[in-house]
Every structure is written in C-alpha cells, then in structure tokens.
C-alpha cells in the first residue's frame, strides 16, 4: 500500500508557568489510502495528534516531530503561507463542534461554495451547483432552502453535516475527522460514514477517524491505533479490535454495555500506573 502520510516521533507540549503538560509523547504511524481509526478516552492525545498533523497547535502549545510527510512533501519545512495552501485543499479536518467552525454571518451554502472555489478554478454558478450536490450527499432534505440559511437557523446535527459537506467538497487527499459524527443521530451517523467510505474507496482518500466509540471504529475502519496518555499503546486490524491484548483496550471494551450480552454489573476500568510509563508502539506499516 502506498504511504500517504508518515508521522515519526510526534510530540505536543503545553508549557505552563510551573510545569509542562505533554499531550502527545512520541507518536509514530503511517497512513495509506485507508480508514485509520484513533481511539482513546478524553485526554489520551488523539485530538492533539490530529491537529498537529495540520500544524494547528497554537502557543503556549508547541509541537515537534522527527518526520511529518504528506505524499513526499515535508510538512515541517513549509512556511505558514505554504501550509495554508495544504489545509483544506490536500488535508481537511472535520472538528467536533460545528457551532464554532462555521462563519455565523455567511449563508451556509456560500461557505461550502467558497471552500470549493478556494481550491478549484470554477465560476460561482458551478460552485453553487457543486455545493448543492454536496448538501444532498450529506442527506439534507431540502438543499436549496438550507443553502440560503445562516448557521444559527440550522440544528446541531444539520450544522455538523454542513461542516462535513464543506470539508469534503474540495476532495482532499487526506481527511482528519475528529469525532465527526458523535453529535449526530445513529442513522444519520451511518449515512455520513457511508459518504466518507465512498471517498476512500473511489477517490483513494486517506482517512484518520478519531473517535471514542470502539464499536463504531471496529466496524468502520481498516486499522486502529489505541492511544493512552499521549502514546500509542496498541495497534491492530479494526475487525480484530475485540481480540485486543493491552489491558487498557481490554478494559475499555469490557466497560461497554452490549445489547445482546447482558451483565448484572459493568466492568470498571482499573488504570495501572505502569501503562503511563511504558514506551509507545510504532504503528508504521
């Protein structure tokens, strides 16, 4: 499989007046034209890993890596201006909360059309047609009406779908999706996953899917990285996630209630201080 992204020894640190918080501690992995899941609980460093790939860590945060390469381009060597040409065009990111990611005073359809025109040489009319198609693709019932709506006029779930449409319309090489569907209803969630799935299969897009939902990742992704305390503690084929060996992964799986396997009490995860000290795993293929 051709490598789209290589990440080697990635660190993200936040320097405070008295101490340094290490959010990501030496993460290494590669990504092909596949669906790679990153799972972990809050504070595991999974979101920071996603942001660091786009070089979106802002002071007092700082990032460092031995290697950060997209399809042969050294992302660490690019100027901020060159980096802006990468963001949105070659690497897109869907964030968790649409409320903070959409411009409140611009009609949502125009925001999608603008995202398209920023990277494709088309006129307004063509961009509008493409934006409407994309709204339709993310299961919005009345695209014409929604095109003219402002962000405050749409529900949270619809806002999230609009964000997804906006990020997918330039057809990036790599999409980083940070809990893209956790605010959506389960049925809409599945429909949005189907759109991403199609882009990976038909256009060869690479997808980093950051999620806390182990069952969802197991059923949707090709490969999974499990993060704990800023490190990758385990990696496996997604469909074999349920055979995971690390006690943290096993603990997470056991704490999930299951529809068809009743238990009187749920297993509670006992965290072992040794997990934090153990070195991470290199998840390069």
């Amino acid at each position: 499989m051709s490598t789209l992204l290589s990440v080697e020894d990635l660190w993200v640190r936040f320097r405070g007046p008295n101490r340094v918080v290490e959010a990501v501690r030496g993460v290494s992995f590669t990504l092909g034209r596949e669906r790679l899941g990153i799972v972990g609980e809050s504070g595991s460093g999974k979101s920071m890993t996603g942001r660091a790939i786009l070089r979106l860590i802002r002071p007092p945060g700082e990032m460092s890596a031995r290697r950060l390469e997209l399809d042969g381009t050294d992302l660490l060597a690019l100027t901020e201006r060159q980096m802006r040409a990468i963001r949105g065009h070659r690497i897109s990111m869907i964030m968790q909360d649409p409320k903070f990611s959409l411009n409140p005073v611009v009609r949502v359809g125009e925001q999608i059309a603008e995202a398209y025109r920023a990277h494709a040489r088309v006129d307004r009319r063509e961009a509008r047609v493409r934006a409407l198609e994309m709204l339709h693709a993310v299961q919005i019932r009345d695209p014409e009406r929604v095109y003219d709506a402002y962000p405050h006029e749409v529900s949270g779930g619809m806002g999230q779908r609009i964000m997804i449409a906006m990020m997918l319309v330039p057809e990036p090489d790599l999409l980083i999706a940070d809990e893209p569907t956790s605010a959506l209803d389960v049925t809409v969630q599945m429909q949005v996953l189907a759109i991403m799935d199609k882009l990976v299969r038909e256009k060869g897009m690479g997808l980093i899917f950051i999620s806390h939902d182990l069952n969802l990742v197991a059923s949707f992704c090709d490969r999974v990285l499990i993060m704990y305390a800023g490190r990758i503690v385990e990696t496996c084929e997604a469909k074999r996630l349920h055979e995971a060996r690390h006690p943290y992964t096993r603990g997470l799986l056991a704490s999930l209630p299951q529809i068809d396997k009743p238990v009187p009490r749920l297993a509670v995860l006992e965290r072992d201080a040794a997990w934090r000290k153990q070195g991470g795993i290199d998840a390069s293929v």
Binding site: T187, A194, N215
Partner: protein, 294 residues
Amino acid sequence: MPASETTALGSAGKAPKAPSERRAEAPARDALPPPAIAVSDLRVAFGKGAERFEAVRGVSFSVASGQSYGLVGESGSGKSTVLRAIAGLIDDWSGRIEVKGRPVEKKRRARSFYRTLQMVFQDPYGSLHPRHTVDRMLSEPLAFHRFDHIEKRIERVLEDVGLGPAFRFRYPHQLSGGQRQRIAIARALVLEPSILLLDEPTSALDVSVQAEILNLLKDLQAERRLTYLLVTHNLAVVAHMCSEIAVMNAGEIVEVMSVEQLRRMAPTHPYTRQLLDASTGYDAEKVARFERFA
C-alpha cells in the same frame, strides 16, 4: 436480585382475585400501589399559528413503582420533551400525567411534588452552578424543603454516590466529568425522592466513566427502591438498565418492547429495526437501505 425482577411482580403481574374475595374487601384495588408515573395522551406543541410544531403527539405509558423504564429515540423524537413535561419544566401541555396516582398540575406544582420526583440532566458541565460549592448545591434544596439534620444528610449522600466528605467544599471546575455527574445525582437524591428522571445521564462521559455511573445508578436503585425513567439514544445503555422500553419517533411511541425482545434483536416496528441496525456498527449494505421515518 436486580431491580427489574422485582418490577415484574408489579401491578400487572398480580393474579386476579376471585370475585367473592374482591367484593369482601371493597377498596382492594386502591390497595395496589398505583404506577409511579402514568402518562396518557400527552401532547406538547411549541410555537403558534403557521410556526406551530407538535413535538409530542399523544403519548401514553406507565412506569410501575421500582421499575426502570426507557424512552429511546433520535433527536426530535420528543423523548426529552416528555421528560420535561413530567418534571414540570414545560407547563403548556395537554393530556394527563399522574405521579404516584395523583394528577400533576400544569403550572406551579406543590413543593412536595419535588420531594417525590427529581431529575438528572445530560450535561454535568452545564447543570451545576460554576460558582457554587458542592456543599451549597446540596444544602440549598434541603433548606428550601425544610429538612432537618442538613449536615448529616450532605455527608451521607456524598458517601452514597461514592465521593466522600473531601468533595464537599469543591467547585465544579475542580471535579472530573464523572465526579460532576455523581454530584448531580447526589443533588437529586438528597431530597430522598422515590422517582428519578434521567435525561441521557452518561452520553457526555467516557465509556469507562459511563460504566461507573451506570453501576452507581443500579446500586442506588436497589438500595433505595427507586423508580427510573431513563431517556437515551443509546440502545445498549437502555438494554443494560431498563426492563421495558418505549421507542419514540416524530412525537409518537411506535413500539413498546420488553428488554428480552430488545436483547433478541426482535423488534416489530421497521423504525426500531433500522435504529437497531444503525446501533450495531457500520454496514454499507444496511445503510444503503435506510429509509426516512416521520
């Protein structure tokens, strides 16, 4: 014994008495405990004129005393609106709501109502006052309802939710998400209600913390013989907690299932079928067949 088994022996499960016996003790029917919550033909609409939207369209169900009853559905199904109408957070509704056999008023409920029924909200970050200590959050409802031994009650309820006295003078920002949800549960329980309305109590929490909170809720129910009405979109959570589940879509209950039926994945309504399919992981073929229900 899990609480769900005791509820199976509730009013519906009792063998009917022989006619002669029934005549002998005339008010025997009243001796049976009334359901903790009985809702019939509940309707809630928002807005006026052309903007009018009916969020709940004729919902009826009842929850036996000591039972855990689940209301599941997607956003906009009306499940949370039903809960808010029962709690008295919405006063413009029609139909009938009875709590422990007594019809509730639409506006200005008696103080005693809130000693019977309390609610726990989804967002532990938003539902606690950021500038009040745990002590103040717990003592205010006690003082308002004129309880005695406030000190002792606060200490006990903190112990009951697994936190202990060290947490008494902390502010919400000094607590983790799971600890905040424990405080929210303590605040609801400190008035010693017999019914708790739970609105997505674990959906903002990590899965390992969710397990701790669900275990706590089950323990508290067994110790205090509580009745739960749980609203959630998570079918696995509702299967773990509840003995009976009503599925809502577009303001109506489309199906009422026993937990056994849910565990067998054998719903009768096509909407529930689709919800189950969507809840058990990604499957491209199933997604392609999804329909809109409204």
